[in-house]
């Protein structure tokens, strides 16, 4: 079966040509379901026309939640690579683990953050204890 008459045309009732359909669908995937805040959209993604995405989602596309990677015969390999990268990403450095959350299996990162927080609280408690002991001993001498 040719990749051009595969899932896209069987699963969805769109009459736009496939390539344009895939381009609009990729925009709809990333920006159609939930968008960053208005400020971020204006400053970083001003080149994205949300009206086109909304019009496409409402009038031209079937349910976006049912979109499968086979609906992208042209961009499927790129999406697959993105998915692979999202699955495989792991923090290589300590500050990566603090600032960036993995897309899959986030529990170790949350555990690491909790351990750091716990360590900081313990250090603060130890510092307070030492400070109190020093102050108490110096007060006793007076």
């Amino acid at each position: 079966m040719s990749p051009f008459n595969g899932g896209a045309n069987q699963n969805r009732h769109l009459e736009l040509p496939t390539f344009l359909d895939e381009l609009l669908l990729s925009h709809s995937l990333f920006f159609g379901r939930s968008t960053p805040s208005d400020n971020v959209m204006k400053s970083k993604y001003g080149g994205i026309d949300l009206k086109i995405i909304k019009d496409y989602s409402e009038n031209w596309s079937s349910s976006i939640s049912a979109v499968h990677i086979s609906d992208f015969p042209i961009y499927g390999t790129r999406l697959q690579l993105i998915q692979q990268r999202m699955t495989d990403w792991r923090p290589l450095r300590a500050y990566h683990a603090i600032w960036y959350r993995p897309y899959r299996d986030s529990m170790p990162v949350y555990a690491f953050r909790f351990a750091i927080l716990f360590g900081l609280v313990s250090l603060a408690g130890l510092g307070c204890g030492i400070y109190g002991a020093v102050k108490g001993s110096s007060g006793g001498h007076n």
């Binding site: 079966m1 040719s2 990749p3 051009f4 008459n5 595969g6 899932g7 040509p17 496939t18 390539f19 344009l20 381009l23 609009l24 990729s26 925009h27 995937l29 990333f30 920006f31 379901r33 939930s34 968008t35 960053p36 971020v40 970083k44 993604y45 080149g47 994205i48 026309d49 086109i52 939640s65 979109v67 499968h68 990677i69 086979s70 015969p73 042209i74 961009y75 499927g76 390999t77 790129r78 999406l79 697959q80 993105i82 998915q83 990268r85 999202m86 990403w89 923090p91 990566h96 960036y100 959350r101 993995p102 897309y103």
Partner: protein, 171 residues
């Protein structure tokens, strides 16, 4: 009778002068028309059509700085014989080997959302180069950046698709 006479004379003139200075300019004009139309259908890869910008002339169709000449280099060129449809896909930023007929791959697209991507380790930026759509920019070593085409370029690429030559074609 007069019209028939003129047509007869013209036809005779063409027949008599076909080899002698008629066929060559005609073939040159047809060739010129063909390459102009082809260039337009491929969104002006030669960047002949330019608008006068603020400081310099800017290409009308291609805002992206693509390396078409680099791709045409003999060592980089596809082993498949070039076709017009293949050139359309190259203009759209799709390499011939990228489209592979294969079984549907199961993949979860639920978290392919700008908000989710930005909350994680990757950045997202817009690009005007079709060949970089849904690809990563690895030049910024700190965080991989996912590139997405802007709406203007998508509207421009719609012209390629609306020619009708891109549908149902395996490269």
């Amino acid at each position: 009778v007069l019209i028939a006479h003129v047509e007869l004379v013209d036809e005779n003139w063409v027949t008599q002068n076909w080899d002698n200075g008629y066929s060559e300019p005609l073939s040159q004009q047809i060739c010129c028309i063909f390459w102009t139309v082809r260039n337009l259908l491929l969104l002006d890869p030669k960047k002949d059509l330019k608008l006068r910008g603020n400081s310099d002339k800017v290409p009308y169709f291609r805002a992206w700085g693509d390396e078409q000449k680099f791709r045409e280099q003999s060592l980089m060129r596809s082993a498949l014989p070039p076709t017009f449809r293949g050139d359309l896909f190259v203009s759209a930023g799709i390499k011939p080997g990228e489209i592979i007929s294969k079984e549907a791959v199961r993949a979860n697209l639920a978290d392919f959302r700008a908000k989710v991507i930005l909350n994680g380790a990757f950045k997202m930026e817009l690009t005007s180069d079709p060949s970089l759509h849904l690809r990563f920019d690895e030049t910024k070593f700190k965080r991989p950046t996912l590139l997405i085409l802007d709406s203007r370029t998508i509207s421009m690429l719609a012209i390629l698709d609306l020619t009708g030559f891109m549908e149902y074609v395996a490269l």
